[in-house]
C-alpha cells in the first residue's frame, strides 16, 4: 500500500502496523464488513416479506394454504440452523439446476444422480462453468440471502402470526360493523395495527440475524469472522512477511466492538420505530403518548 512497505522486516512500531493493516488480505477483511452489511440490508426486508406471506397464509381460511403456511413455520423453525445451512443450500442449488436441466436439455440420456454425484448438462449449470469468479460469488451470495430469508422468514412468520392475533378483537368487530369486507379489514385494520405487537419479536430476530452471519462461510462466502480467524491465526515467518503469534483475540475483540456498536445503533433505531408505531394505538404505550399530548 505505502511505498515504505516494500521491506517489512526493517520496519517497526507504527510504520509496521500501518503496513500490516493495509495488506491485501486486510483489505478483503474490511470489504467483508460491507458484504455482511449488504447481506443484512437485503435479507431483513426479504425475510420480513417471507414472514408476512407465511403468517398470512397460516391464517387463511382455505385449508391447503393454511397448511402450507403452518407447515413452513413449523418445519423451518424445527430444523437446526447449521443443518439447514449445510444441506439446504446445496439442495436449493441442485433444485435450480434440475429445473434448468429439464427445460434446457430434454435430450439428455444420462441419469442426473450418478452415485453421489449430481450431474446436469453444461448449459444447466448455475452459474455456467466458464463464467468469471465474481459471478459465482454473486450467485453464492444470492443463495445465502435466499436461505437466510427462508429461515428467518419462518421465525418472522410466527411473530407476525402472533401479532395479528394480538390486535384487539374489538377493532376487527368494529371494522366489520362498518361493513368492511374480510380483505379490507385485513389490510386497513389488522396490518397497520399488528406492527406494534410484532416489533419486540422482530427486533429480537434482527439481533439474531446480525450475529448469524458467520454461517455464511458454510456457503463459501468469506465473512468477517472467517477473515478474523484467518488473519488472527499464528502467522509463520515462512509464509508471510508479517509474522505474529496467535492474535485471534485482538481480531475477535475488534469484531466484538463492531457487533456491540451495531447492536447499539440498532437499538436506537428500533426504539424510535417503536415510538412511531405506538402512536394512536390501543395499547398502554399509545395511551401514555396520548396523555402527554393531550
Amino acid at each position: 500500500m505505502f511505498s515504505y512497505c516494500a521491506d517489512p522486516d526493517t520496519l517497526s512500531g507504527l510504520t509496521w502496523l500501518s503496513c500490516y493493516l493495509t495488506t491485501g488480505k486486510h483489505m478483503q477483511f474490511y470489504l467483508s464488513f460491507g458484504t455482511v452489511l449488504l447481506l443484512l440490508a437485503i435479507t431483513a426486508p426479504s425475510a420480513l416479506l417471507f414472514g408476512f406471506f407465511g403468517a398470512a397464509s397460516a391464517r387463511s381460511r382455505i385449508w391447503p394454504v393454511a397448511w402450507f403456511g403452518k407447515g413452513y413455520i413449523a418445519i423451518v423453525r424445527g430444523v437446526p440452523d447449521i443443518a439447514f445451512f449445510l444441506f439446504f443450500v446445496i439442495a436449493l442449488d441442485q433444485g435450480f439446476e434440475w429445473v434448468r436441466h429439464q427445460v434446457l436439455c430434454p435430450d439428455w440420456d444420462q441419469p442426473i444422480r450418478q452415485g453421489n454425484d449430481f450431474i446436469v448438462c453444461a448449459q444447466a449449470k448455475l452459474p455456467r462453468g466458464n463464467t468469471a469468479q465474481w459471478v459465482h460469488e454473486v450467485y453464492g451470495f444470492f443463495l445465502a440471502v435466499l436461505t437466510f430469508s427462508i429461515v428467518f422468514g419462518a421465525f418472522a412468520a410466527n411473530v407476525l402470526f402472533g401479532a395479528m392475533r394480538a390486535v384487539p378483537h374489538a377493532q376487527i368487530e368494529t371494522a366489520e360493523a362498518y361493513g368492511m369486507s374480510r380483505r379490507q379489514t385485513f389490510w386497513r385494520i389488522l396490518v397497520p395495527q399488528m406492527w406494534v405487537y410484532a416489533l419486540p419479536g422482530l427486533s429480537n430476530l434482527w439481533m439474531v440475524l446480525v450475529k448469524a452471519t458467520p454461517l455464511l462461510f458454510l456457503l463459501g462466502i468469506e465473512d468477517i469472522v472467517y477473515w478474523a480467524r484467518s488473519l488472527g491465526g499464528t502467522a509463520n515467518p515462512r509464509f508471510t512477511e508479517y509474522p505474529h503469534g496467535d492474535w485471534r483475540m485482538w481480531y475477535f475483540l475488534a469484531l466484538l466492538i463492531f457487533y456491540l456498536g451495531f447492536t447499539r445503533i440498532s437499538e436506537i433505531y428500533l426504539e424510535r420505530l417503536m415510538l412511531k408505531l405506538t402512536r394512536g394505538q390501543a395499547t398502554s404505550g399509545g395511551e401514555a403518548q396520548r396523555k402527554v399530548t393531550a
Binding site: K25, L86, I90, D93, A122, G220, T234, T240
Partner: protein, 238 residues
C-alpha cells in the same frame, strides 16, 4: 435434413461440453500451511497453489481457485460447485467410496504429535485433531480422548491453552509450528496414516481424472514434483 439438424445439435452439445471443460475450478481450504494458505495479498498460496497451477498448465486447463470450509468440501464437490479438491486430502478408502482420487502427489507421509512437554500420555490423554481428518479417525480408535476442531489453527491453540495434551496432524504442518515456538515440540513416534495425498474429483468425471493423472505423472517423471515438494517441505519425495 432432420439428420443434419440432429448432428449439428449433437456437435453443438459436444462443443459446449468441451467449452465447459475449459474452466476447471479448484477447491481448497486455505488454512493449512505449507500445503495451502491465504497469503498477505489475500490469495491462495502454498505448495498446492504452485502444484495446481503447474498441473493446469501441463493439462492445458484454465483453472480457477476457490476456498471452501473443510467440513463441506466433499459435499460441494459432488454437487458440482467446483471440480477438484486440492486441499492436502489423504487418500482413504472411506473417502474413495464417495469421490475419486487421482494418483497421489505426495507419498504416504508420517503424522506426528505436537505437545508442550515430552512426557504427555499419547495413549490415554486428550488429543486434538481437525474434524474429518484421518488423524481424527486414528485418535478415536487409539483409545485416547479425541477433541475435534474445525480448523488446524484451533487444534494448536488447544494444546497451547491446555485443553488438549497434544495434537495429531501431518508432520509437515506441525514442524514449522514447533520450530517457531519454543514451548511446543514434536513428541513420540511418527504415525503412518493414509495412502498419500491426491486430488479429489467426482466419480462421474473420469476424463478430468485421467487428464490430471497424466499431468501428475509427467511431473513425477521429470522430477519437478520432487523439487516442488522439497521447496515447500511438505513431504518426503518419491
Amino acid at each position: 435434413m432432420k439428420k443434419i439438424i440432429l448432428s449439428t445439435a449433437a456437435l453443438a452439445i459436444s462443443a459446449s461440453m468441451a467449452m465447459a471443460q475449459d474452466v476447471v475450478r479448484l477447491g481448497t481450504e486455505g488454512a493449512y500451511p505449507p500445503w495451502n494458505f491465504i497469503n498477505d495479498s489475500g490469495e491462495v498460496d502454498g505448495f498446492e497453489r504452485e502444484l495446481g497451477d503447474e498441473l493446469c498448465k501441463r493439462a492445458e486447463l484454465n483453472c480457477q481457485w476457490v476456498t471452501n470450509d473443510w467440513d463441506s468440501i466433499i459435499p460441494n464437490l459432488v454437487s458440482g460447485n467446483y471440480d477438484v479438491i486440492i486441499a492436502g486430502m489423504s487418500i482413504t478408502d472411506e473417502r474413495d467410496e464417495v469421490i475419486d482420487f487421482t494418483q497421489n502427489y505426495t507419498p504416504p507421509d508420517p503424522s506426528a504429535y505436537l505437545a508442550m512437554s515430552e512426557d504427555v500420555d499419547l495413549e490415554g490423554g486428550v488429543i486434538a485433531a481437525q474434524a474429518g481428518t484421518i488423524q481424527a479417525g486414528y485418535v478415536a480408535e487409539s483409545g485416547a480422548t479425541l477433541v475435534e476442531f474445525a480448523t488446524p489453527e484451533e487444534t494448536i491453540a488447544a494444546v497451547r491453552n491446555g485443553e488438549a495434551d497434544a495434537v495429531l496432524a501431518d508432520k509437515s504442518f506441525l514442524t514449522p509450528v514447533a520450530d517457531e515456538d519454543a514451548d511446543l515440540m514434536i513428541v513420540g513416534p511418527d504415525v503412518a496414516l493414509g495412502g498419500g495425498v491426491g486430488l479429489g474429483v467426482r466419480e462421474s468425471d473420469p476424463e478430468l481424472k485421467a487428464t490430471l493423472d497424466a499431468a501428475i505423472q509427467s511431473m513425477k517423471d521429470d522430477g519437478s514434483l520432487n523439487a516442488m515438494i522439497e521447496k515447500w517441505d511438505v513431504a518426503s519425495t518419491f
